[in-house]
Symmetry: C2
Subunit: 244 residues, 2 copies
């Protein structure tokens, strides 16, 4: 069983063309010795510019944008786990603006946020990092519909506060019995899946009555799937052979 | 039941006096319009200066130091959770250099790392943030022994790869039956608890045969305690009354 975990509609994108000449963006890019079209949009630093973006009628609601830290935290929570080490996890990032980042399971991501942002900016510029054949990260233009079709998942499950109330352990138990399930977790700060995303799911579940951060949902789900597969039991006793 | 979760020997401290005049530190502080004695040590930016620190025989091994991101990530993983929302969690940060940061459960920490670092630097300077009576964060000089005595915990449990192999769910089940348990999680990048820390624990458990990041351990343990207390079951059905 390989679980594909996709962070979707992720609030991770380059600064949109419409605000690249905004003084706040220009100052920020200059301080980092980059061009305004090479830096990631980040609410923590571009709040004024983002409010301008709302005024020009940008397609995505501005309150869903500019939070690369959400992807970073979610990735840190799932990549260094027994589920990944045992070869049961594939992680993808679908972004606002429809790029898809593929992540080699062997990657060791920068833990430091500033370094992570630099790495993703490099990825947008060079399309693969490192540039050699067995890249650890690659990026391509691809919308979610095309991605889901390409993956050929046996079942597509989303997590959303607007979904059907369910225990995450129940969902994980069910998922771990499938050959090639795809889990969608929204990696944006506010709001809900677009209709387009919703239509791609077979089921949507809500695992708490309050919204949970994407990194909490991702980390907990990976842990529950490990449990459903028996990884914890096989890994805690020294000397035991590990299931793969 | 209130679980006290302490991140201990955390790799979060101001730049030590011994390297405050190092050119790398001076440039970094200047770029951030601060003095060298006001900024947090961060391996991602101070690697050369930290190697100097090793040469002057600093008390803590340098490979355990300079990673405030570990505390940040672990806090993000545990504070916005049902366990905290339902009043069952108290979180403390004990740092290398023996400071203790107390965290008001109502705090909403900056999700952005750069903002978090700025906040902690402000905390070191002002001792409480905000400065009014019901501060969200406070800091005081206090070693771990004094902290553990003050807390009067019914049981002190540590997680470490050198501990006794155990299922985390078993530990959480046992812990959730206690009135005032204290959990110690090391928030440093490499190495193990000091002897001093080890002596304060009643039990030390290893929950995987590989070392796990502090934020993974913290997030999973909080989730397991929620489960042991029945929070998931009580919160997923809309209309149900929540246990507190």
């Amino acid at each position: 069983m390989i679980l594909t975990l996709a962070l979707v509609e992720s609030a991770l994108q380059l600064v949109p063309q419409q605000i690249q000449s905004h003084p706040q963006i220009k100052r920020y890019a200059e301080r980092r010795s980059k061009s305004p079209n090479e830096v990631l949009l980040d609410r923590a630093f571009h709040d004024a510019a983002m409010r301008k973006l709302a005024q020009v009628g940008y397609s995505t609601p501005v309150e869903k944008m500019g939070r690369p830290d959400i992807v970073h935290n979610a990735l840190l929570q799932v990549l260094e786990t027994p589920l990944n080490w045992e070869g049961h996890l594939r992680v993808l990032v679908h972004t606002q603006g429809n790029y898809v980042i593929r992540i080699n399971p062997k990657v060791r991501l920068p833990k430091n946020y500033v370094r992570f942002v630099g790495l993703i900016e490099q990825l947008f510029a060079e399309k693969r990092v490192p540039k050699e054949n067995d890249s650890l990260l690659t990026i391509e233009k691809c919308n979610l519909l095309a991605l889901v079709r390409k993956l050929g998942a046996t079942k597509v499950i989303g997590f959303s506060r607007l979904g059907k109330p369910a225990s995450m352990k129940m969902v994980a138990g069910q998922t771990s019995g499938l050959k090639n399930p795809l889990i969608l977790i929204g990696a944006f700060p506010r709001g809900h899946f677009t209709d387009e995303t919703r239509r791609l799911t077979d089921e949507i579940y809500s695992v708490d009555r309050e919204p949970l951060d994407a990194w909490v949902v991702a980390g907990r789900f990976v842990y529950d799937v490990e449990w459903a597969l028996g990884l914890e039991q096989s890994r805690v006793s020294p000397g035991k052979v590990t299931r793969t």
